[in-house]
């Protein structure tokens, strides 16, 4: 199984790298959200995320989720990819957190599972949490998938987010990519030298040791990248060749976002 563990890890990191690249590619597609000014998109999507977080009614969250799906389709994003990478993962994690509420929330018994009562109120609480998370995560993911990362950072800057925060976000993004690339290379190198099998204990030791080395290497590499950026004049500000300019379609979108937020806020009371 040793070769299987390492080969799977290599494939996993390669897949992660590939997905990172796909994200950058999708941000340059000709789609609904991609055509918007990043500032309009940032404010609009964040407003919808906050609305989803504050909503108290399932139909409202369902509508916001449906809006997210419609925007995804209009932006030429693969629903299957979203389902695999976002919806299923969000559901799995949220369901784990929400599960105790099924049994612990007082109220009328709706179902019985192994002699333990599941209340209707508990089911509602769990569904509310899952729906809220799915809607919020979908809208946030759409923002990231349809906006080049540097444009997103520049949009944050125009919203007066401090330059130190922007610089941190820029380096964090770079560190994550470096981490994935370095991990991929390390595991490929290990795989090319593996003969025979590792038992479970050896596999765990391998993973722990590799994790520590990986973190050190990535930090070092990240520092080098930061020095290289400084050497060419970087002082925290994000500067781009592309200038943001509001066009007619952006004003339409702003109205649309505002209408959706107001409608959801009113309906969700």
């Amino acid at each position: 199984m040793s070769a299987g563990v390492i080969a799977k890890t290599v494939r996993g990191f390669s897949g992660a790298l590939g997905r990172t690249l796909v994200s950058e590619n999708s941000a340059h597609e000709r789609g609904l959200l991609q055509a918007l000014d990043p500032r309009v998109k940032l404010v609009g999507m964040l407003a919808l995320v906050v609305t989803a977080a504050l909503a108290r009614k399932l139909p409202v969250m369902g509508a916001l989720f449906g809006l997210g799906v419609a925007l995804a389709l209009g932006s030429r994003l693969s629903l299957w990819s979203l389902a695999k990478r976002v919806w299923l993962v969000a559901f799995a994690f949220t369901a784990m957190i929400a599960a105790p509420a099924l049994f612990l929330t007082p109220g009328e018994t709706a179902y019985t599972l192994g002699g333990v009562a599941i209340t209707a109120q508990g089911v509602r609480s769990a569904l509310l949490l899952i729906a809220r998370v799915e809607a919020a995560v979908t809208l946030s993911t759409l923002l990231v998938l349809t906006t080049p990362w540097m444009h997103l950072l520049k949009a944050l800057r125009t919203l007066m987010v401090p330059v130190e925060v922007i610089a941190m976000l820029a380096m964090t993004h770079r560190y994550v990519v470096l981490l994935t690339e370095t991990a991929n290379a390390m595991f490929e190198a290990r795989q090319s030298r593996m003969v025979g099998r590792l038992n479970g204990r050896e596999q765990r030791r391998l993973m722990v040791n590799t994790g520590g080395v990986l973190l050190s290497k990535t930090l070092e590499m990240g520092n080098e990248v930061f020095l290289a950026m400084q050497a060419r004049g970087f002082r925290g500000e994000v500067r781009l060749l592309t200038e943001f300019r509001l066009r007619g379609w952006d004003y339409v979108a702003m109205s649309g976002f505002a209408a959706a937020v107001v409608a959801a806020a009113l309906a969700g009371r």
């Binding site: 990248v225 970087f234 060749l241």
Partner: protein
């Protein structure tokens, strides 16, 4: 205030860098120990030394990325300190005048496309958009990388990455170029291309400091060779004089003696980089 160098004669008299007893430590390990060195404008210097001799550290100090723990380092008479680099005016002027090409090009390539990469420096220095576009196109053409402009840097070959890394620095037309092992890990053709680029700046308009341990390219890329050993200067002469000093080169771990056996009889020859010693067996 930093001033740009002017005519050739005036250039030769201008001190670009002046290091006096510079000391630098990495986590209590001394990378540079009492290093003293003067670099005149227009000089082409090769910094020679084995791995760990302090070449890269010295380049980074000269590029204002690290700062001396002791001693003084000056650029055109101005002290190169952390406080000085915190001043926006000084820092921007310095970054305009001094460019560094890192040993690992992957460290230097962090933008989505080659075009964005080369445009990064001028953008940071606040150049007008039209000037940036014009300069980036011209630089990519000059370096023979115009066809790569829309490609992602991670998809380039080693030689292409190195050329783009160089382009990302020379787009600013700096007066000083610091190059850390520019031909390392390159195939012979890519090495030749990089050496040709370095040779194109032989007219003295730029000060070029190249860290390398490849003795065979010394004469092509430099007019002065400075040998470092354990963080200090142990030799400073013309490339021919340095190459003739086998004792110095061996001591600095830049060459090794080649040994082989002939029917059980050991024979020793100097490094194949130097003039080969013919003998009969």
């Amino acid at each position: 205030m930093l001033e740009s160098s002017t005519s050739g004669a005036a250039k030769a008299e201008t001190l670009e860098f002046e290091a006096e007893a510079v000391r630098y430590e990495y986590e209590r390990v001394a990378a540079l120990q009492g290093l003293t060195l003067r670099v005149r404008a227009g000089e082409r210097i090769a910094l020679l030394g084995a791995n760990g001799s302090g070449k890269s550290t010295l380049l980074r100090l000269m590029d204002g990325l690290h700062f001396a723990c002791a001693g003084a380092l000056r650029f055109r008479g101005e002290a190169l300190t952390e406080e000085a680099m915190q001043d926006d005016g000084f820092a921007m002027n310095f970054r305009r005048r001094v460019g560094m090409v890192f040993q690992n090009p992957d460290v230097q390539l962090f933008n989505p496309t080659v075009f964005d990469e080369v445009a990064f420096g001028p953008l940071q220095l606040g150049w007008p958009r039209e000037e940036i576009l014009e300069r980036v196109h011209a630089t990519l053409q000059w370096i023979g990388a115009e066809h790569l402009k829309d490609r992602a840097p991670y998809r380039l070959s080693g030689g292409e990455k190195k050329r783009v890394a160089i382009a990302s620095v020379i787009v600013l037309d700096p007066d000083v170029l610091l190059l850390d092992e520019p031909t390392a890990a390159l195939d012979p053709r890519s090495q030749s291309q990089v050496i040709e680029l370095l040779e194109s700046w032989n007219d003295g308009r730029k000060t070029i400091i190249t860290a390398t341990h490849q003795l065979e390219i010394l004469g092509e890329i430099s007019g002065r060779a400075v040998v470092l050993e354990r963080g200090a200067v142990v030799g400073d002469a013309t490339p021919a004089e340095v190459l003739a000093n086998t004792e110095l080169l061996e001591s600095a771990n830049l060459i090794h003696s080649h040994r082989h056996l002939h029917g059980g009889v050991p024979h020793k020859h100097p490094s194949p980089y130097l003039r080969h010693e013919h003998h009969k067996h």
